[in-house]
C-alpha cells in the first residue's frame, strides 16, 4: 500500500494542496498494485479502481468543505452591526456543503478510510490550524493587542472581552451549525475540544501582563464597589446599585470565562485581589474604631461569612467552566475555607491594630477596644513577637528620643503598662516592650524627681501641677491593695493551687508573673536599688514639709504606701522628718508658753519654728546673713526654752529656710507680704536709723547692704528685685546701684504699676521661686562632698605617688563607698583648682602631692 501511495503521489499531488479537484470525468489511470494483474474488465470493482473513485469524491468534498470554512482575509470589525457581520462572516450552508461535510466528517466514509494513515483527513484540525490560526494571527491579534494598549486600565478589558467573544463566535460558527449536526453526539465533544484549543490560543497569544493588570484592576474596582459598606446600614438605592454592579461583574466574568480568560490565571488574580480587599476593607472600616467593648472581630467574621464568602462563591462559580458539570476542587468553597478567611481577617486586623498600637496607647482608655481586638490576635508566638517587635521599634522611634520629655515618656509608659496588662495579663508581652523603655528612663536624670513628684501630686489640684504625673497620684490613691506581690512570690510553691497555670511558652527566662503589671511598682522598680528613689522622696518630702503649713495628710498617706512597698526601715528618715514637723508644733506651743514669748506687746515680732533632726534630713541650705536684732533676741530666748525642754540638745538656726510675714507702714499705704527670710532682712535694712534724715526716704547702696547684711550677691539681688516688683523700693541710681524706699506712690509710679512693674513683679516671683528650694540639690551636695574626695586624693597620691587623672578617677570609683559621682572633667577642674592653690603639682600628665 505504501508503495502504491508513493507512486500515486508522484503523479498526483496530495489532495490538500489541490485547489481544483480532479473532475469526475477524468479517466482514472492508475498503475496496478504490487502483484496485481492489470486491469481486466471484471476487475473493475478492484480496490485500486475503487480507491481512485473515492479519492476524487473525497477531493471534491474536501474542496467544497474547505471553501465553506475559509474566512475572509480581513479583520473582524466589531463596530459593525450584527447584520453586516452576519452577512460577512457567517455563510449559509448549502445542501452540497452539507453533504461534503458529512462525507468528510463521517468516520466510516471510504475516502476517509483511505487517508486514515496520511494524517490529512481531519477537517476540523485543518480548519483550526490553517484557517482560524492564520486568520487570528494575521488579522485578529494585532487588533486585540492594540485594544489592550489603549485607554485607561481596565477599560480595554471590556472591549477585549467583546472582541474575543465575537471572534470566538465567528470561529465557532461552522462547528456549531452544520458540523455539530452532522457529528451528532460526538459533535459537542469536538466543539468543546475546538473551543479549548481556541482558548489556549487566546491566552497564549495575548500579552499576559497587560491582561492580568487589566483584570486585577477591574476586579479591585468591582470588589470595592460590591463589598464596600455592605454591613453598615445603607440606602436602598445603594443596595440596588450594588446588586447591579454585582450582577454585571458576574456576567462579565462569565463572558471572560467563555472566551477562555477565566482560567487558573484569572483565579489566581482573583485570589490576590480578594486578599487585598480583605485588607483594605479591614483597614478602611476598622481603623480608628477603638471603642470598647469591641465587636469588631464579630462584625468582621460576619462580614467575611456573609458578604465576602458569598461574593467569592459567586465569582468562582462564574469563573468555572460552564461545561464542566462537577465543580472541581479548587473552586469549591467549603465551610473550612470560610473559617480560614475569618482567621486571615483576624490576622490582618491584628496587623492593623499593631500599627495603630502606639496611638491607641497614647490615647489610652479611649482605645480599649483596639486592645481587645488585638487580644484575639496575639494567640500564637509568631503574632506575639510581631506585636512586640513592631511596637518596640515604634516606641524607639517616636518616644525614646530627646524630643520627648520625661513626663511624656512616663505617661506613655504608664499607658503601656495598663494597655498591655489588658492585652496579656500574664505580662510577657509587657516585659518585652518595657525593657527598652525602662533602660532609657534610667538614663534620664529627672526620672526619679518626676516619679516622686507625681506620687506626691494632688490630683484635685489641677492648676498647680501642670506637667506632673497626676496619673501616679490617682493610681496611688486607688491602688491600696498589694496582694499581687505576695501571690507572685509563693505562687510556684503552692501545690494546692488549683488555678495554677504554667508560664506562657514564650516567656523569657527571667519571667516573673505580674511583676510589671502594677504601675507604681514598676516605676519604683525602675532603678536597681530603692536608695535612689528613697533619697529623692526624702528630698521632695523635705521640700514640701518645709513649705507647707500644717496639713500633711497626703504626704502621710504616700509615706504609708511606700512603707508597704519598701519596708519600714528604708523610710525611717522620712518618718522622722514627718514627726519632726508634727512635733515642732507641740514644742513650739510649749516654748512659747514657757518663755512667755506671746506676752510681749503687739508690735514685737512673733517667732515660730520647725525643729528638724538634722541627721535625718537631706542637706539643707545653710547660708547665713544678718538677721534683725529683734529676731535674734527672740531666737536666743527660744533656744533657751528649747534647751530647757530637751536637755543635751541644741538648736542650730537655719536662717535661709524660714518665712516671714512683713508689714510695712509707708506714708500713704501699708504693704503686707509673705516673704522669704532674706527678703525680710533686706527690707529691714531700710528701717530708718538715727543717722537717717526722717524727712527724706531712706536710701541704701548695694555695697552698703552687702556689707551690713553679710549676704551673698545673688540673694541680695534677688531680694531687691522682689521689693522693687512690689513697688516698695526703687532703684534711684545705677552707679553705684542705690535703692530708695517709695514712701508715697506718685502718679507716675502708679501708672507704671500696670505696665513695667507687672513684669518686674513677675520677675521677682520667679526669682523667689528659683532661689526658694530648701533642700540642696544633688549637685550641690556632691560639691560639698568634694572635700571628702579631696582626702581620698591626698591619701592616694601620698601613698601611690604621682598618678594620671584617669587612674585617680578609677581609684576613686573603686574606693569611695557608694561610687564616685563625678566624671573625668569635673575631677579635672577640681584638681586644677588644687594645683592653683599650690596643693598639687601637675607635670607630665600626672598629679603629684606637694609636700
Amino acid at each position: 500500500m505504501a508503495l502504491h501511495d508513493r507512486i500515486f503521489a508522484s503523479v498526483f499531488p496530495p489532495p490538500s494542496e489541490v485547489d481544483v479537484p480532479t473532475p469526475a470525468a477524468t479517466p482514472v489511470l492508475g498503475s496496478s498494485g504490487f502483484g496485481e494483474s492489470f486491469g481486466s474488465q471484471h476487475l473493475l470493482q478492484s480496490p485500486v479502481e475503487n480507491s481512485a473513485a473515492e479519492q476524487i469524491k473525497w477531493d471534491r468534498a474536501w474542496h467544497t468543505a474547505t471553501s465553506y470554512l475559509t474566512l475572509p482575509s480581513e479583520p473582524i470589525n466589531a463596530d459593525q452591526d450584527e447584520k453586516t457581520l452576519r452577512d460577512k462572516w457567517i455563510k449559509s450552508v448549502s445542501p452540497e456543503t452539507q453533504r461534503a461535510l458529512a462525507y468528510i466528517l463521517s468516520e466510516d466514509s471510504r475516502g476517509r478510510q483511505i487517508r486514515k494513515t496520511s494524517d490529512s483527513d481531519d477537517l476540523l484540525r485543518w480548519y483550526f490550524e490553517d484557517v482560524v490560526l492564520e486568520h487570528y494571527m494575521q488579522y485578529a491579534l494585532p487588533g486585540l493587542i492594540k485594544i489592550l494598549g489603549k485607554g485607561e486600565i481596565p477599560e480595554p478589558l471590556f472591549e477585549l472581552g467583546q472582541e474575543l467573544f465575537l471572534i470566538q463566535l465567528i470561529y465557532l460558527q461552522p462547528l456549531k451549525e452544520p458540523i455539530a449536526q452532522i457529528l451528532g453526539n460526538s459533535g459537542t465533544a469536538e466543539s468543546q475540544r475546538f473551543e479549548a484549543d481556541l482558548h489556549g490560543l487566546f491566552t497564549r497569544t495575548l500579552p499576559q501582563s497587560l491582561v492580568s493588570e487589566n483584570l486585577a484592576t477591574f476586579l479591585r474596582q468591582q470588589c470595592s464597589l460590591i463589598l464596600r459598606d455592605t454591613n453598615s446600614p445603607e440606602t436602598p438605592n445603594k443596595v440596588t446599585s450594588g446588586q447591579d454592579v454585582r450582577q454585571r461583574t458576574l456576567q462579565f466574568m462569565r463572558n471572560l470565562q467563555s472566551v477562555g480568560l477565566g482560567g487558573y490565571q484569572a483565579q489566581r488574580i482573583f485570589a490576590e485581589i480578594m486578599s487585598e480587599t480583605l485588607t483594605s476593607h479591614i483597614k478602611s472600616t476598622y481603623a480608628g474604631q477603638w471603642s470598647s467593648p469591641s465587636a469588631v472581630v464579630e462584625q468582621m467574621h460576619h462580614w467575611v461569612e456573609n458578604s465576602f464568602s458569598r461574593f467569592v462563591v459567586e465569582m468562582l462559580a462564574s469563573m468555572r467552566d460552564q461545561g464542566a458539570a462537577t465543580a472541581d476542587e479548587l473552586t469549591k468553597v467549603t465551610h473550612s475555607d470560610v473559617e480560614r478567611w475569618q482567621d486571615m481577617g483576624v490576622n490582618k486586623l491584628g496587623a492593623l491594630r499593631t500599627d495603630e498600637l502606639f496611638n491607641v496607647i497614647v490615647d489610652w482608655d479611649y482605645g480599649r477596644g483596639a486592645i481587645e481586638d488585638l487580644k484575639r490576635y496575639v494567640t500564637v508566638p509568631g503574632s506575639r513577637t510581631y506585636v512586640t517587635s513592631t511596637f518596640s521599634s515604634v516606641v524607639a522611634h517616636r518616644l525614646l528620643q530627646p524630643g520627648a520629655s520625661t513626663t511624656e515618656i512616663l505617661q506613655v509608659y504608664i499607658s503601656i503598662i495598663r494597655a498591655f496588662t489588658v492585652l496579656d495579663p500574664k505580662g510577657v508581652l509587657l516585659d518585652r516592650v518595657a525593657r527598652p523603655i525602662r533602660r532609657y528612663l534610667r538614663e534620664r536624670d529627672d526620672t526619679v524627681t518626676i516619679v516622686v513628684g507625681g506620687l506626691l501630686a494632688d490630683p484635685e489640684d489641677n492648676a498647680s501641677t501642670g506637667d506632673a504625673l497626676l496619673e501616679l497620684a490617682v493610681e496611688m490613691s486607688k491602688n491600696n491593695s498589694l496582694k499581687g506581690e505576695d501571690d507572685a512570690e509563693d505562687g510556684e510553691l503552692d501545690f494546692e493551687d488549683m488555678n495554677w497555670m504554667p508560664d506562657p511558652v514564650d516567656a523569657g527566662p527571667e519571667y516573673k508573673k505580674s511583676k510589671n503589671s502594677d504601675v507604681i511598682g514598676s516605676l519604683i522598680s525602675l532603678f536597681d536599688s530603692n536608695d535612689i528613689f528613697v533619697k529623692e522622696f526624702q528630698n521632695i518630702l523635705g521640700e514640701r514639709l518645709l513649705k507647707k503649713e500644717y496639713d500633711f495628710d497626703r504626704e502621710i498617706r504616700v509615706l504609708e504606701l511606700l512603707k508597704i512597698r519598701f519596708g519600714e526601715s528604708v523610710l525611717q528618715a522620712c518618718e522622722v522628718m514627718l514627726r519632726d514637723i508634727l512635733d515642732s508644733r507641740r514644742v513650739d506651743t510649749f516654748i512659747h508658753k514657757d518663755q512667755q514669748l506671746n506676752l510681749d506687746d503687739e508690735t514685737s515680732p512673733e517667732l515660730h519654728t520647725r525643729i528638724l533632726s538634722h541627721l535625718f534630713w537631706p542637706s539643707l541650705h545653710s547660708e547665713t546673713f544678718f538677721i534683725p536684732p529683734e529676731i535674734t533676741s527672740l531666737q536666743s530666748r527660744y533656744s533657751t526654752g528649747f534647751e530647757a525642754l530637751k536637755q543635751s540638745r541644741k538648736l542650730t538656726w537655719l536662717h535661709a529656710l524660714g518665712q516671714a510675714t512683713v508689714t510695712l507702714d509707708l506714708e500713704d499705704r501699708t504693704v503686707s507680704e509673705e516673704v522669704q527670710t532674706w527678703q525680710a532682712s533686706v527690707i529691714y535694712a531700710f528701717q530708718p536709723t538715727q543717722v537717717d534724715d526722717p524727712s527724706v526716704p531712706v536710701t541704701r547702696t548695694f555695697e552698703e547692704l552687702l556689707q551690713s547684711l553679710e549676704m551673698t550677691d545673688s540673694l541680695l539681688h534677688n531680694a531687691l528685685t522682689f521689693w522693687i516688683g512690689k513697688l516698695v523700693l526703687k532703684q534711684t541710681s545705677t552707679t553705684p546701684p542705690a535703692y530708695t524706699v517709695l514712701e508715697t506712690l506718685s502718679d507716675e509710679d502708679a501708672a507704671q504699676e500696670g505696665t513695667t512693674s507687672a513684669a518686674i513683679a513677675a520677675a521677682a516671683e520667679t526669682a523667689t521661686a528659683a532661689a526658694a528650694p530648701a533642700v540642696l540639690s544633688e549637685h550641690e551636695v556632691a560639691q560639698e562632698k568634694m572635700e571628702v574626695y579631696w582626702q581620698y586624693v591626698v591619701g592616694m597620691l601620698t601613698n601611690g605617688g604621682a598618678m594620671p587623672l584617669q587612674q585617680i578617677v578609677m581609684m576613686l570609683k573603686l574606693t569611695v563607698p557608694g561610687g564616685f559621682p563625678f566624671g573625668n572633667e569635673e575631677l579635672k577642674s577640681f584638681l586644677e583648682g588644687e594645683v592653683r592653690v599650690g596643693k598639687l603639682d601637675f607635670a607630665g600628665g600626672t598629679y603629684k602631692i606637694k609636700h
Binding site: 601613698n799 581609684m811 569611695v816
Partner: protein, 184 residues
Amino acid sequence: MAEFAMEDTQNSAPGQPTAHEAAKLSSTSRRQDAQSVTKRLQTELRQLMLSSTPGVSAFPSSPENLLNWTATIAGPSDTPYANLTFKLSFQFPANYPYAPPTLLFKTPIYHPNVDFSGRICLDILKDKWSAVYNVQSVLLSLQSLLGEPNNASPLNGQAAELWDSDPAEFKRLVLARHQELEEE
C-alpha cells in the same frame, strides 16, 4: 569488675556533696568573704580619710585589688627617725579582719624590730592580733614602735644594742640606711 568499681564510686556517700559541688560551695563562701573584706576595707578607708591622722596615711595600691595597700608613716619628731617618711605595703588576707594583714617596710629602715628585707616583729601583727584593730591603729602602733622599739625580741641585734649604747651611731646608721623610694 570494672563496672562494679564504677558503680561504687558513683554511689559512694550519696549524702555528701561531690568534689565539684564542694568546690562550688567553698567558692561561694570565698566570694562572700571577698565581698565582706572589700566592704570592711572601704569603710576603713573612709574612716581614715575622714579622720586624717597626722603622720600616717594609707591607700589601696591599685584599682584592681583592694587587698593591697600602700601606707606612709612619718617618723616621730623626737626619735632618730624624725623628718623621715617610710612606705609600707599592706597585704590583707581574704578573711581579714579575722587574720592580721601582712606588713612590710618598703623603705629600707634601720630598726631593732625590722629586718633587712623589711619584715616587722610586732606582737599585734602576730599572735596578739584582734579584729578590733584596723589600718589606722596598726599604723599608729608602728609609728610608736619607731620611737619605742621592743629590744627584748630584736630582728636586728646590732640595732637593738646600739639603741641603748650609742644613740649617735644609731642615728647615723638610720640615716645611712634610709633612702627615698623611687616612685613607680
